[in-house]
Amino acid sequence: MIQIENVSKEYQRRGRSVTALQPATLSVEQGEFVSIVGPSGSGKTTLLSMLGGMLAPTSGTVMVLGENLYQLDVSARSRFRNEKIGFVFQNFNLVPWLTALENVQLPLTIGRAEAAVQRNRALELLERFGLADRADHKPSELSAGQQQRVALARTLISTPRLILADEPTGNLDPDSRAMVMETLRECQKQFDQTVILVTHDSSIAESAERKLRITEGVLTEEQPRLNVASA
């Protein structure tokens, strides 16, 4: 599913370069549930962005589903992301001027699916998340937990093979947190979707079958099962 090889990232800021990720090699199989932990500023988001085709690495190759992501041109990479990868964010990133229903439809709107398909799929998902009666509400009219459920519905509408979640429970109450984790588990168990989850919550991290740690840009595997190397 995922093979990264010697992937590193350096940011250039005002003439100085900051190494956010040391060269890392990692592979993940389809249907795995992987957690990534590490202190703030250690490079977790940087790694996740590169896995999602959002950030070109300074060196190394990123293969997802057999595609060398950064050899695709920008629009092919966008299309790949639209079809195969779903993000879940800490801040939900719902579009404030769209209703819950419209937010959920967005990936299909971008992929130019038929209007009826967009609508029916979105309604189905909102129902699954118990938000059918909130379909016409704007994000500002929803609680944090409800907003994250809308965001999850949006992520799942295109049935991505890979779900990348960056501290998805960071801003949530315990009930919503449990709901989000349950959903991600379901994605893995029921739909064989690969989940990579960045978290601060150690109990959540422990529940994953694979746990990676990043410290100051160095990626290590906590309970080594597959080969993870860092140079």
Binding site: S78, N93, I110, Q118, S158
Partner: protein, 416 residues
């Protein structure tokens, strides 16, 4: 949803900046369309006057000032009526008709009207004090007033007596064959205003007049006037045998120059003016107006463009997170650029349309103050306005669109 509805919904959530940018463009288009429409309508009026009256001359008092052919008699200076006879006797080459006029401001049914005295053609001869030349006049009446020149191409030459005997033809020919002392001809607008029709009796300055005819609309100030016999108007005004103007209708433009020289020599106290002299000021004013409107348009479009650019830059900046999210969801940078450009084109098209509408209203409201003709919108200005509005909107959104296309998608991972 479609991409288009995304653009639309985004505008609707906070329409004020978009509307402001749109109005800036609309203003430019409105200025162009209104001023150009007035200028071209005025040009059309000038062209029509040149075409219809190109061979005509006006004989005016030296001190009379003058802007419009049709209103040439609206001043208080006078000439002796005798000048008509002087011109007849001179038998100038190309003179076909003459129309001496005297205007009197008065009221009918308490409504202000301009009563214009006109001299029927027959009177040139009957009332003439030069009885001794009767024979000559009779001969002239059968042919033309002046002598004809060779190869004349004039239009008035083709006027038949029957044409002139129909009172209604005055609106077109500006000459009547016969008019009884207490008959009046009423212009189309004046008839509507006064609510009179043929055969009605009206009272003017204590005298009773019969409406001999209501003239068809001519599109000139004549439509607002009431015409009566020159001598009747002279009597009513108490000014004696004078006129404000003598229109001399030449047979064709070939004779105009010679005629001006001849009349100036004949009547040294009068001013002789040709149509082209008369419209010269109007023509240069039209040119100036037209040029200024393009300048104004260019300036307003630059201002509009700058305001679009600033609105768009601000819009892209404040939507960074949202646009980054769209990238994460699989939108291509090109799609984000298109979102910006679609919004810009909407501003351009709607701004152009609003400007067009606004300009048209402005032209129809302000136009009549400048020109006396029915106003036509300048299609060229409309075309230019709409196309430039779109181009300016797109052009000035190019950099904001580029900015959207080069957005760093990692903004959506940052916590607020």
């Amino acid at each position: 949803m479609t991409i288009r509805s995304l653009v639309w919904k985004e505008i609707l959530q906070r329409p004020a900046p978009t509307v402001a940018a749109l109005l800036a463009v609309a203003l430019g288009v409105a200025a162009l369309v209104s001023v150009q429409s007035i200028a071209t309508s005025s040009e059309a009026q000038v062209a029509r006057q040149m075409n219809e009256l190109g061979a005509n001359l006006l004989v005016l008092p030296k001190s009379a000032d003058l802007q419009d052919y049709y209103a040439a008699d609206l001043h208080n200076e006078t000439l002796p009526e005798e000048y008509v006879t002087t011109i007849i006797l001179a038998q100038a080459v190309g003179v076909e008709e003459m129309a001496p006029k005297l205007c009197l401001q008065t009221t009918i049914d308490e409504k202000d009207v301009t009563l214009t005295g006109i001299l029927p053609r027959t009177e040139f001869f009957e009332k003439s004090s030069w009885q001794s030349v009767d024979l000559m006049f009779q001969e002239m009446e059968e042919t033309q007033l002046g002598s004809k020149h060779e190869n004349c191409t004039g239009r008035t030459c083709q006027l038949t007596d029957a044409d002139m005997q129909d009172l209604k033809s005055y609106a077109k020919t500006r000459v009547v064959h016969d008019l009884a002392p207490f008959s009046i001809l009423v212009g189309a607008d004046a008839a509507r205003e006064l609510n009179v029709s043929e055969e009605d009796e009206v009272e003017i300055m204590g005298e009773s007049f019969k409406v001999a005819a209501v003239l068809p609309a001519s599109g000139t100030v004549d439509d607002q006037r009431v015409f009566a016999h020159l001598h009747t108007v002279q009597d009513l005004s108490g000014m004696g045998p004078v006129v404000n103007v003598i229109e001399v209708m030449g047979c064709c433009e070939d004779v105009t120059d010679g005629l001006v020289a001849e009349l100036e020599e004949l009547l040294p106290d009068a001013r002789v003016i040709t149509i082209s002299q008369l419209v010269e000021a109007q023509v240069s004013m039209n040119r100036l107006m037209s040029r200024l409107s393009y300048l104004l348009f260019a300036i307003l479009m630059l201002v509009g463009g700058a305001s679009i650019a600033s609105v768009m830059f601000a819009n892209v900046s404040e939507r960074r997170r949202e646009l980054g999210t769209l990238l994460a969801l699989g939108a291509t940078p090109a799609l984000l650029q298109r979102l910006v450009l679609m919004k810009a084109s909407l501003i351009g098209v709607v701004g152009g349309a609003v400007g067009l509408l606004f300009g048209a209203v402005l032209a129809f409201v302000c136009g009549p103050m400048v020109v006396d003709v029915p106003l036509d919108l300048s299609l060229q200005a409309i075309g230019w306005g709409l196309i430039s509005a779109l181009i300016v909107a797109m052009l000035f959104s190019y950099f904001p669109a580029r900015k959207a296309g080069h957005l760093d998608p990692s903004v959506c991972f940052q916590d607020v």
